[in-house]
């Protein structure tokens, strides 16, 4: 599928590492041995409950096999046993770093199924919440990258900012993580009166120390650069073939963004740039995330400025019972394209719900890209994908 040439390049062994190790004759003749290392599921630096069976030749990875399912709750089966509105709290548990996007995707799918009209204010609030959520997801993901590279401090700065965003979420939705805020046909309640001002204040303060804590502290650091530059490099063709979306795809230079290319909700009313980079390595993914945080701040400000008035809940029947058919929803979650496919049989429980989670799809990348890298390079490469356990395990 992918060019095998690149896969077997190995700096340590002068290339052809995999050839030497997989050829049984060579293997026996020279007594080469590999060791298997179980990285995870309980590993201090692994994102959630991922288990990677890594075959090592010295420090060079020759094979990597991700094993999933340690957090599998079969969300799709759960959804088939619940009424439509009761699925929303469960979607919060999918990608627990981007709960708003998960709710939004599911609600878009059900609304598509029912043909509902959403009031513009509800749409604007959804966009506002999703962009705040993107901020709250990208900053820890940069922090995790640094944590795995060994610098412990940025993660706490990231979580400090995330806490402040969560405080806003708590005032708006009532919960800090499992919001259950975006509902079929709108949002649960209008923003509290003082919240737009608070969000504005928060965004201003974030802009003030964002450069210092996330760019100056990390980007210029020579050790960070040597660790991430050229690591996990993919070309655009490979990236698209592997189905990457989100920052891992955009860091190669493909400017695909669901918000722009498949516009939904209130996004056509705001202007922002799709951040791309040319390198396609871990550092480029980091730069894309930094750029996206700045764009999200821009979007939040625009939404606050242009917030329309009106109701926040559309004309939704009390008992949601969509007609027979199929609905699709697609949002740009911080990790890529999150798509929901809902099939209805006319009753008030979904017949089938399918989630396309970006973490799950993007993780195929690991299998392809890891052979030939050193074991410590696993960490920046995980940082490119930034998978979330609840996402890939559904």
């Amino acid at each position: 599928m992918l060019e095998k040439e690149r896969v077997v390049e190995s700096a340590a062994l002068g290339g052809r590492a995999t050839d030497r190790l997989t050829n049984p004759y060579v293997r026996d003749e020279f007594g080469l041995e590999t060791i298997d290392l179980n990285v995870g599921p309980q590993h201090p630096a692994m994102h959630g409950l991922l288990r990677l069976i890594v075959e090592l030749d010295g420090e060079t990875i020759v094979r990597c096999d991700p094993v999933m399912g340690y957090l599998h709750r079969c969300q799709e089966k759960i959804a088939e046993n619940r009424m439509y509105p009761a699925v929303i709290p469960m979607t919060d548990r999918l990608d627990y770093f981007a709960n708003m996007h998960m709710e939004h995707g599911y609600c878009l799918a059900v609304e598509d199924l029912m043909g509902l009209e959403i009031p513009p204010r509800a749409d604007a609030i959804r966009v506002l919440m999703c962009e705040l959520m993107r901020l709250a997801s990208h900053m820890p993901s940069i922090g995790f990258l640094m944590l795995e590279l060994g610098a412990f401090t940025p993660i706490l700065y990231a979580f400090r900012e995330r806490e402040r965003i969560q405080n806003i979420f708590e005032a708006v939705t009532g919960a800090r993580m499992m919001f259950h805020y975006i509902r079929i046909g709108g949002v649960k309640a209008d923003l509290p009166v003082d919240i737009p001002e608070k969000i504005w204040e928060y965004v201003e303060s974030l802009e003030a120390n964002f450069e210092r804590d996330f760019v100056d502290l990390i980007q210029g650091n020579e050790i960070f650069q040597t660790r991430t530059r050229g690591i996990g490099k993919v070309t655009q063709k490979e990236a698209i073939e592997m189905g990457l979306t989100g920052p891992p795809l955009r860091c190669t230079g493909v400017d695909f963004d669901v918000r722009v290319d498949y516009p939904y909700s209130w996004y056509p009313n705001v202007t922002f740039d799709v951040i791309t980079d040319t390198e396609g390595d871990a550092e480029a993914a980091y730069r894309v995330r930094i750029g996206e945080i700045k764009q999200s701040i821009k979007i939040v400000k625009q939404v606050l400025e242009k917030m329309p008035e009106g109701a926040v809940m559309g004309d939704v029947p009390r008992r949601i019972r969509p007609p027979e058919g199929e609905g699709f929803g697609k949002v740009e979650s911080p990790r890529g394209e999150f798509a929901v496919h809902v099939v209805s049989d006319g009753s008030d429980v979904p017949y089938r719900v399918h989630y396309r989670d970006p973490s799950f799809v993007n993780m195929q990348f690991l299998q392809e890209i890891l052979p030939g890298h050193y074991l410590p390079d696993l960490m920046p490469i995980m940082g490119i994908v930034d998978p979330v356990s609840g996402g890939w395990d559904k």
């Binding site: 189905g243 400017d255 695909f256």
Partner: protein, 163 residues
């Protein structure tokens, strides 16, 4: 960019895709709804249709594969994106309790895990798949496919581990 994505306006592109599909394959049903091209095809020509989509029409991205257990038959939906606003949904129905369909991994390498997931959850066998193992469930000692409608789960209260 060294990858050719469709350029220009959305206007007329779905119709062009539809024409491209219709001129090459016998489709059971085909229509354009807004920016969505909906095709219903026979299961055996799915790889051919997807090859056309990728090679001839330049639709680069396979978004997901959904399987729906319709109790007696399986509906499959392949959602393809051209990354510039047009969605192509290829639908097919496999009859029977033990569904088999040709893999599309050679056309869209990203289908690898989607097909593994479909196999894990529904037991849909993808012929020619390079690595058809379970994704989520146990590799052995587990013969069920949880998302089949015949796999009943208990929603009753349990207090296991209650002291």
């Amino acid at each position: 960019m060294d990858v050719a994505l469709p350029q220009g306006d959305l206007e007329g592109r779905p119709e062009r895709y539809l024409e491209g599909f219709q001129s090459r394959h016998g489709l059971e049903e085909a229509e354009v709804e807004g920016n969505v091209v909906r095709l219903v095809v026979e299961p055996r020509i799915v790889p051919a249709v997807l090859t056309t989509a990728r090679e001839a029409l330049g639709i680069m991205h396979l978004s997901f594969i959904t399987v729906v257990d319709r109790e007696g038959s399986f509906g499959l939906t392949y959602e393809l994106l051209d990354l510039r606003g047009v969605t192509v949904r290829v639908k097919t129905t496999i009859e029977g309790e033990e569904p088999v369909i040709d893999t599309v991994t050679s056309i869209y390498p990203t289908a690898n895990w989607h097909e593994r997931e479909a196999y894990d959850m529904f037991g849909v066998a993808f012929k020619g798949h390079p690595d058809l193992r379970r994704v989520y469930m146990w590799q052995d000692h587990f013969d069920h496919h949880p998302l089949l409608k015949s796999f009943e789960i208990s929603t009753k209260r349990t207090f296991e581990g209650l002291r």
